[in-house]
Subunit: 266 residues, 2 copies
């Protein structure tokens, strides 16, 4: 259904804008994604927004998106660039903003055999790191990201943006540590932690699919008890003064090693 | 010289706070770094701040830093947590804030033979990416980061924080593209671009030290003419829907491959 909104005080504009805050996302079970690139990735992954806002864009990808929404009988709202700015909180708003249903998958519904790599992040704090990890997950053919303990909201505007659309191709689950571990041990899965407390070079070990790559909080790394629960601890060599990498970088270096070993066997 | 500042309107507090803005950093040739971890990394790399602000921290690392500053006859300023908050722009300020001289190295003074890997970034926009790339550079034993064309300021508070101190171990140079290329071709150096426009798998080629890893802008990647100037273009495999990685992730995957090839030969 196509319609037009021109007023800043329109209740729908206020409601959509409120999705920039976690409490409203949680209450509504909805989140925002912005920009043709991300919304097109979503559409290619088979996901259309509940509502689409645009400011009369003539871009072919915007027209495609609008046509797909209309075919599906979904809400397409034409509005002004100023109102798009208000929704997105940016001076130069993207041409389109979509409102999506949140995409959490219950752990029990994850088919671990559907991918060789899964990423597990514990107490991740930075939305940019979370989104970047999703984007890397998409690139290495991971199945998804399991968020353990209290992580930043994967549906925050910053995380969605950093994921560059990978949010729509990767499964996302949340769990407490014990809950995750119970689930993991009900089937196959090699839990691999990245740690300084080991002599195992990350290139000198064999990874067995499905590999669950476990990375810890940005400041603290993994708790000792979590490391102790791993099937394998590995170390990425670091030659410099510092003893750690950015968590999204460490995840990518590990994930590409797993992928490269698989490629070498193929 | 140790002294105390208790007033918010103290001119020095205002001046130091102004270093959060690029124009004042540029005018003064100074920048801010915050937190014991980063300032200690700097000290271990042999770099002390021009001025050190603290709020009476009793942490052993803070005491070491203060002692080193006093030995060097440098300015140590004790102040209140509130004033530290004002300087750092954060509610929970770090225990120490240092004011450092900017650390740009003229390209002509870079000794390319001092390291096997150099990172070259073009038109990088995000300070977090820049700092993360520095941090990765430190980890792989790179010599430094050459910033080509208009990049974000490497001395911004966000970049310094994301570098986790690597700003003090990595050389940082800036150059226009032509200037960089002129300098590069005056000596050894394999210029390697990461690109989608090639069939070369990044693991199927041999890297020759010193390798200059060239990465492009977050949104646009490398311009065609820049790719054409490379000695080698390589592609990181991507299995997912998206056709790119976060630039700091791509840099790390490449840099670890160069390091791993060197480790395999050793």
């Amino acid at each position: 259904m196509a319609r037009e909104i021109t007023g800043f005080s329109n209740p729908l504009v206020k409601r959509v804008r409120s999705l920039r805050e976690k409490k409203f996302r949680k209450a509504e079970g909805l989140f925002l994604a912005e920009g043709l690139r991300i919304l097109t990735e979503a559409r290619e992954a088979g996901v259309l927004p509940e509502m689409l806002f645009h400011a009369g864009s003539e871009h072919p990808l915007a027209r495609d998106l609008i046509a797909a929404m209309e075919d599906a009988g979904s809400d397409v709202i034409e509005t002004s660039p100023d109102i798009l700015s208000k929704i997105s909180g940016k001076d130069n708003p993207q041409a389109v903003v979509g409102v999506y249903q949140d995409r959490l998958t219950p752990l029990a519904q994850i088919d671990r055999r559907s991918a060789d790599i899964w990423i597990v992040a514990q107490s991740l704090r930075d939305p940019g790191n979370l989104g970047t990890i999703l984007r890397t997950g998409d690139a290495v053919g991971a199945g998804g990201l399991i968020l353990v303990d209290d992580c930043v909201d994967p549906f925050s505007v910053e995380a969605v943006r950093a994921s560059m659309g990978a949010l729509f191709t990767q499964k996302i689950a949340t769990a407490r540590w014990d809950e995750f571990l119970d689930w993991l041990r009900q089937g196959d899965g090699q839990l691999v932690g990245t740690s300084l407390n080991t002599a195992n070079d990350y290139q000198d070990v064999a990874y067995d699919a499905p590999v669950f790559l476990l990375v810890g909080n940005e400041a603290q790394g993994l708790p000792d008890t979590y490391e102790a629960a791993c099937d394998l601890l590995v170390k990425i060599p670091m030659l410099g003064k510092a003893d750690s990498l950015n968590v999204a970088v460490a995840t990518a270096v590990m994930a590409y090693e797993v992928l490269n070993q698989k490629r070498a066997r193929a």
